[in-house]
């Protein structure tokens, strides 16, 4: 595999705490890409938005006793400089305000996804 350093990966996450088994993997892939020195953003939209509400991610633990929760996965992503962005309009749909978000998440308008998708090297959809 060619060295992927510097490539830009956009991960679009549309699933949230209501489908917990679909929450870990996109973050894991994002962190792996960041560990390989790619520039990575995870864009949360649709149901993906709800995992970013304070108090929600820590409730998701797919492997009891592992010490890993969705909260720790999100923290791992932030620690590895993965950018986390949420769709502003999705916030409204989920009746969330900016102050309801966990730390480390930026807000972008919905149409930002178009620019992002065009300017990133690859987009992964979940």
């Amino acid at each position: 595999m060619d060295d992927l350093e510097g490539k830009k990966i956009l991960v679009i996450q549309t699933h949230g705490v209501d489908t917990p088994t679909r929450t870990y993997s996109p973050l894991y892939y994002a962190v792996a890409a960041a560990a390989m020195e790619m520039e990575v953003m995870v864009w949360f939209t649709m149901n993906g938005t709800n995992q970013l509400k304070k108090g929600e991610a820590e409730k998701v633990c797919l492997v009891p006793g592992s010490g890993v929760t969705l909260k720790s996965m999100l923290e791992m992503a932030i620690d590895n400089e993965v950018e986390l962005k949420v769709c502003q309009q999705s916030l409204t749909l989920w009746d969330m305000k900016p102050e309801d978000l966990i730390d480390g998440v930026g807000i972008l308008g919905a149409t930002s996804i178009i620019d992002l998708a065009l300017n990133y090297d690859h987009v992964m959809y979940f």
Partner: protein
């Protein structure tokens, strides 16, 4: 090799450590250094599934990734404790990433590098009793107790 155990975490006193990044270096006779991850790192990662090192010939600044390690619950970079060029990678890890767990200080070495200025980089690394004490402080602050999988080297 002389070693100490802190909360079941092994620290060899002849190695030089980046405690912050959980990596070690062994200074070799040919002016290269061997680099790996510590017992604390393997315990935090859990059983490793994949390890991918940067290629031979790649230059790395201190703090930049030299490898990516994946386990079932964690994925992340192994950050270089020195600035230099990678001169060898451990090909065994491609088929058996668990060497990082069972033998983090020997068979689980990750890369060898030729440092650009080892003396300068050593300033930020600790060895001997200082390494043991630095790890004791970190382990106690982070509440770490190391676990070892079957097949781990006898310490």
């Amino acid at each position: 090799m002389a070693h100490e155990k802190v909360n079941n975490c092994v620290v060899f006193t002849n190695l030089h450590y980046s405690v912050k990044d959980n990596t070690w270096i062994r200074v070799n006779d040919d002016d290269t250094v061997t680099i790996g991850m510590t017992d604390v790192a393997q315990s935090l990662a859990g059983p490793c599934l994949h390890a991918k090192a940067k290629k031979v010939g790649v230059a790395r600044k201190k703090g930049r990734p030299i490898a990516t390690v994946e386990s079932g619950k964690w994925v992340g970079p192994v950050k270089s404790p020195v600035t230099g060029e990678i001169v060898a990678i451990n090909e065994d890890l491609a088929n058996n990433a668990k060497l990082l767990n069972t033998s983090p200080y020997n068979d689980g070495w990750i890369v060898k590098m030729k440092p650009a200025d080892l003396a300068a980089d050593m300033v930020d690394l600790v060895t001997g009793d200082a390494a043991v004490e630095a790890y004791r402080a970190k382990i106690e602050a982070d509440g770490v107790t190391c676990t070892h999988i079957e097949g781990t080297d006898e310490y």
